[in-house]
């Protein structure tokens, strides 16, 4: 028991590693605040373009979405990280990571919004148009709010997944929580920093898990 506390929950080590870990927490939060809105925005764009029901455009978007859903995000990240310099493109690390996430998350959010838009009956758009709303107004004020509500559990669930994905950035040396915790572990020869990081993720993300569960449960009961 003593050994476990010594190795996993060592207060002295934790105190030394804390500034480092705290910096990582901030970077993880910053990355999430960049990646999630970009993903939602681009996913919404993909779904709305698909909703135009232009045959070839829709097929191209479907291919884009399927391709990036088949591609493990880590592979995408390593490919972009390792490949861009050979194209003579030199992006800052933050931008490289954001780009890889953009391609991955836009396809997932796009798929969710597509299902949402399809779930709104056609009569809604027809009714809105016949009251004199423009197509853009119909989309913005009538279709989108209903579509978003219908897929809210999936949207929140995917956001949770995206935040968890930010840990992949540690593989290319982005100084977020997991990366810093691993470095601290290597420097101190002690597992405490990594265990602390795991607990921090747990504390930060547990509320979101509960929210997803509640929303999912509600949607099943409503049906």
């Amino acid at each position: 028991m003593d050994q476990i506390i010594q190795v996993f929950f060592n207060a002295a080590i934790f105190e030394r590693a804390w500034p480092f870990i705290w910096r990582g927490v901030q970077m993880t939060i910053a990355l999430s605040f960049v990646v999630v809105p970009i993903g939602i925005g681009s996913g919404l764009a993909v779904a709305m373009l698909n909703h135009l029901h232009h045959k070839w455009l829709s097929r191209a978007l479907m291919a884009y979405v399927d391709f990036f859903r088949a591609f493990p995000p880590l592979v995408l990240l390593l490919f972009i990280y390792g490949g861009l310099p050979f194209l003579g493109i030199d992006l800052p690390l933050f931008a490289t990571v954001a780009l890889a996430f953009l391609l991955n998350t836009s396809s997932y959010y796009g798929e969710i919004f597509r299902a949402g838009l399809e779930s709104v009956p056609a009569g809604q758009a027809e009714a809105a148009r016949s009251t004199g709303l423009s197509r853009a107004q119909t989309m913005l004020w009538v279709i989108l709010p209903q579509a978003t509500r219908n897929v809210l559990p999936d949207l929140v669930g995917n956001t949770l997944e995206v935040i968890k994905l930010t840990t992949l950035a540690s593989v290319v040396g982005f100084t977020e929580l997991l990366n810093n915790a691993r470095n601290a572990q290597a420097l101190t020869y002690n597992a405490t920093p990594v265990v602390a990081a795991a607990l921090i993720y747990l504390v930060l993300l547990w509320p979101l898990v509960r929210l997803v569960s509640r929303l999912e449960h509600k949607s099943i009961v409503v049906r």
């Binding site: 996993f8 088949a70 591609f71 490919f79 194209l87 968890k164 990081a197 795991a198 569960s213 999912e216």
Partner: protein, 225 residues
């Protein structure tokens, strides 16, 4: 000229001929690992959901805590804790085992929630009717509730299985010899990203059919009432 440089960097035949066998070996390890994760994860998830349906307070509490924790923890964090932290207390495991165990735990947590939602969706009257014909609680669960529940769980389970088997790529971080491990070590050895292109292509070959299949599954088993 630009195009030639691009081809030399990303589609270099000479480099590809040196590394493609490694990548094929990686594909085998990825497939094997993914299959092992799906079997262990779905099996455990189903068992936990069944255990939860007996509504024993203490057992249900621990199942919910387990499911919540492994849905909140990023899979890469679980892999790293298992692989790098556990050896300190003499619980060392191979990279393959650590990746397999981590992904199985995560899949089990999600599968438990999905199966549980499926079980809840079956009307109470079904249980009451089955029990009143003299079936035991276990028989009711296995022969009456689960066949109806499982159908509804197929689309979300398929999506989750794809997401988690793609996570086998995370094994490369602890040096499991799967596709990405060979692709990135090949790329740095050759000083040329062609092995990464091969690795990316390998994932598309493995997963694109699964994603397309999942679209079909989604329409086939969609919620209809």
């Amino acid at each position: 000229m630009e195009l030639q440089r691009l081809a030399f960097s990303f589609f270099n035949g000479e480099v590809a001929s040196r590394y493609w066998l490694d990548i094929v070996h990686g594909m085998w390890v990825t497939t094997y690992l993914a299959a092992a994760v799906v079997i262990a994860g779905l099996g455990t998830g189903l068992a936990l959901a069944m255990a939860r349906s007996f509504q024993l307070k203490v057992a249900s509490f621990f199942i919910v805590v387990f499911a919540d924790a492994f849905r909140a923890l990023p899979p890469l964090v679980v892999i790293i804790v298992l692989f790098f932290a556990f050896p300190y207390v003499d619980l060392a495991m191979s990279a393959f085992t650590a990746t397999w165990l981590a992904l199985s735990l995560v899949l089990a947590a999600f599968a438990e929630e999905i199966f549980w939602a499926g079980i809840l969706s079956v009307p109470k009257g079904q249980t009451e009717a089955a029990r009143s014909t003299g079936m035991s609680r276990l028989q009711t669960l296995v022969y009456v509730i689960l066949p109806q529940a499982v159908r509804l769980t197929i689309p979300p389970l398929t999506n989750r299985m794809i997401a988690i088997t793609k996570g086998t790529a995370l094994g490369s971080v602890v040096a499991v010899h799967e596709i990405i491990y060979y692709a990135s070590s090949g790329a740095s050895e050759a000083g040329n990203p062609t092995p990464l292109t091969l690795g990316a292509a390998a994932y598309v070959v493995l997963f694109l059919p699964v994603v397309i299949l999942s679209r079909w599954v989604e329409t086939r088993f969609a919620w209809k009432r």
